[in-house]
């Protein structure tokens, strides 16, 4: 594999991760907490309606989790990428 192909593969994988994580980001905030909030409010968890909980609590927890998942995925990918770079040099 050449350095260029390697970079391309890295970038493609990165875009895949971005697509999936941003889809989740969109669904919890704009989906659960805005578009379907009244529907989800029919489900009760303790004193919260589920939609209200997503709007004022849940979406924020998921945002934090999404960033750390991305950090983990990219660190793994960086490591993989730099090993394949090194093999190529040898």
């Amino acid at each position: 594999m050449t350095g260029n192909d390697n970079n391309r593969a890295y970038w493609k994988k990165n875009l895949q991760y971005l697509g999936i994580l941003l889809a989740v980001w969109f669904i919890v905030s704009y989906g659960c907490a805005i578009l379907f909030v009244d529907f989800l409010d029919k489900i009760k968890i303790g004193g919260f309606g589920l939609g209200f909980w997503f709007a004022q609590q849940g979406s924020i927890y998921i945002f934090v989790a999404l960033i750390f998942i991305y950090v983990f995925l990219m660190n793994r990918l960086d490591k993989h990428h730099s090993t394949s770079n090194r093999e190529e040099e040898e």
Binding site: L21, S29, I34, G47, F63, H81
Partner: protein, 568 residues
């Protein structure tokens, strides 16, 4: 000890701490002054970013706003946190890899255009000034209410403190002071929230107590009780939405995209040592922010319940002390319209006329007193409010001074300026900016508050698409980017100016374009920006090869070197 004495103690201790930290970590080079020598560990940077980000608006105003808006308050909660996901995934790592100091640096190099750079510098300075004036105002309110100091003197003291550590320490001093300020502000926010949660629901964690049962043995859920109380008094149910769905959608998006485009937030990601550290420090920043942002809606619900319980249908002569205290500041107004000596606090759906107006900004500051917490907690909240305002003000002042000394002087006007000269210029610029901001804090033009909210819409409509496309679409060229920014920002600014300043009487949902309020219009401005910049780029010449290489380079994971182009 009285509230005032405790406030002096708390504020005094916290100020001494900030000054000590500033002396210990002062800057000696432009690299340290602008970006702390790019040597800040991600957790520390995350904490500093959180303090930088959470302004007087987050600390003092937000829970109050939510407690009056109910579920719709989620536009702020999600809008001011969700942007960090975009930052961490789409912006921070690439800008760190790019490795220069400022947002205008990136825009100018990527779009090989001085026009683009100058537009970006002007936007950055404009956004930062409106923001910083609001912080100084917050400082003034805290001083005048809790320390009985005149607002003017309060602002001058605040200016002095900020001047001292921003001018002396630059980004390095500010970063480490902000870490101290984060600790003060989060402690000050959580202590009363935990106290009140315990008192009202018996649960030590406000985020859970908020959805729990009341501690009065009735077995009723707090939110059900609050909905009941609200409807009884003619307000909307707390957990129901009042804004149109499309408007909530657009406002949330404008705040998120604006967050990701704000220059004082983006610049923080240049201060970390590696690309991977830029990603994780965005994660830490959001984690530290989330601690406050998930507590705020709980505080809002507790405060609202307490307020309705305490003041409604109480005899005016028997109101608690805090009511009188805030009445003298003019932030609570009672007008006994039916002359029965009782306070009728009523919503729009009630037959009875409302007699009470409460400024939303006082809810967090008054909350500990409403819940009858000890005096030291009240003092602590005042110190926390000051920490939030000062840390944000300092970060913004640095953006202003960097924009002037680096982007304008060094890159445009006096290109052969020495490192020493640039550092002196940066300090003078920070000093002048403190004075101007202080002037606006003492004598605010009426529109400051509104302009702050719109800064987000403008950032979303201008910076965000230019930066995103600059990284993710190599074909985007200078003509496309500049025309997109101009269309985005003129449409957004025009819409806002039309409804807020020219014909405010028309500013009701019926007249809005697609039912989108001026607060949310930045999202549509951003869409227009994309719609213009993409076809224009395709119809004009592609960017030169060296710019395409630059894009390839920032995308590839090899670690960025130190970002200094200046010799230290």
């Amino acid at each position: 000890m009285s509230v005032q004495a405790w406030t002096f103690v708390m504020v005094g201790i916290s100020f001494a701490l900030y000054i000590g930290v500033a002396i210990w970590s002062r800057a000696s080079s432009t690299g340290e002054f602008y970006i702390a020598g790019a040597g800040v560990p991600p957790v520390v940077n995350g904490m500093a970013t959180a303090a930088d980000w959470m302004s007087a608006a987050s600390f003092i105003s937000m829970a109050g706003l939510i407690s009056f808006m109910g579920r719709d308050g989620s536009v702020y909660l999600m809008g001011w946190t969700g942007g960090y996901v975009l930052l961490a995934l789409l912006l921070a790592p690439y800008l760190r890899k790019f490795g220069k100091y400022t947002v205008p640096d990136f825009v100018g190099d990527r779009y090989y255009s001085r026009t683009a750079r100058i537009v970006a510098v002007i936007c950055a300075i404009f956004v930062s000034f409106t923001y910083v004036a609001g912080q100084m105002r917050g400082v003034g309110i805290v001083f005048s209410r809790f320390l009985n100091v005149d607002i003017t003197l309060g602002v001058v003291i605040g200016m002095g403190i900020v001047f001292f550590y921003a001018v002396l320490g630059g980004m390095k001093g500010i970063t480490y002071t902000q870490v101290a300020q984060y600790c003060v502000l989060i402690f000050a926010y959580l202590v009363p929230a935990i106290f009140i949660s315990l008192l009202m629901t018996g649960n030590i964690i406000p985020q859970l107590g908020f959805g729990g049962e009341l501690a009065d043995g009735s077995g009723e859920f707090l939110l059900d009780k609050l909905n009941g109380l609200s409807q009884e008094l003619g307000f909307d149910a707390y957990t129901d939405g009042r804004k149109a769905t499309i408007d909530v959608f657009f406002i949330t998006a404008a705040l998120m995209l604006g967050t990701a485009g704000l220059p004082h937030v983006i610049v923080r990601f240049y201060t970390v040592p590696r690309v991977s550290a830029a990603r994780s420090s965005a994660g830490w920043a959001l984690l530290f922010i989330a601690i406050l942002y998930t507590t705020a809606p709980a505080v809002a619900a507790f405060a609202r319940t307490n307020l309705l319980n305490t003041v409604s249908d109480t005899e005016y002569t028997e109101v608690p002390g805090w009511f009188k205290n805030w009445e003298t500041t003019g932030l609570i107004k009672f007008d006994d319209k039916n002359g029965d000596g009782n306070i009728q606090y009523r919503g729009a759906h009630s037959q009875v006329e409302n007699e009470l107006t409460i400024d939303r900004d006082i809810m967090v500051l008054a909350n500990p007193e409403i819940a009858k917490l000890p005096n030291w907690v009240v003092g602590l909240v005042a110190a926390g409010g000051l920490a939030a305002a000062l840390s944000t003000a300092a970060g913004l002042l640095l953006v202003i001074s960097t924009s002037i000394a680096h982007d304008l002087l060094k890159r445009e006007l006096v290109q052969d300026i020495s490192e020493r000269g640039e550092l002196i210029a940066a300090r003078i610029a920070a000093g002048v900016a403190v004075c101007i901001a202080g002037y606006f804090g003492i004598d605010p033009p009426g529109f400051v508050g509104q302009v702050v909210a719109f800064a987000f819409g403008l950032a979303a409509a201008s910076f965000f698409p230019a930066i995103i496309m600059g990284i993710f679409w190599k074909r985007m060229n200078n003509i496309g980017a500049v025309s997109g920014m101009i269309v985005g920002i003129s449409f957004t600014a025009g819409y806002i100016i039309f409804f807020k300043f020219i014909t405010p009487e028309l500013n009701v949902p019926a007249h809005w374009l697609f039912g989108i309020s001026p607060e949310g219009i930045g999202t549509l401005g951003m869409v227009l920006n994309f719609l213009v910049s993409v076809p224009v780029s395709l119809l004009t010449a592609p960017p030169p090869p060296n710019v395409q290489e630059l894009v390839d380079n920032i995308r590839s994971p090899q670690d960025a070197g130190p970002p200094h182009e200046l010799s230290v």
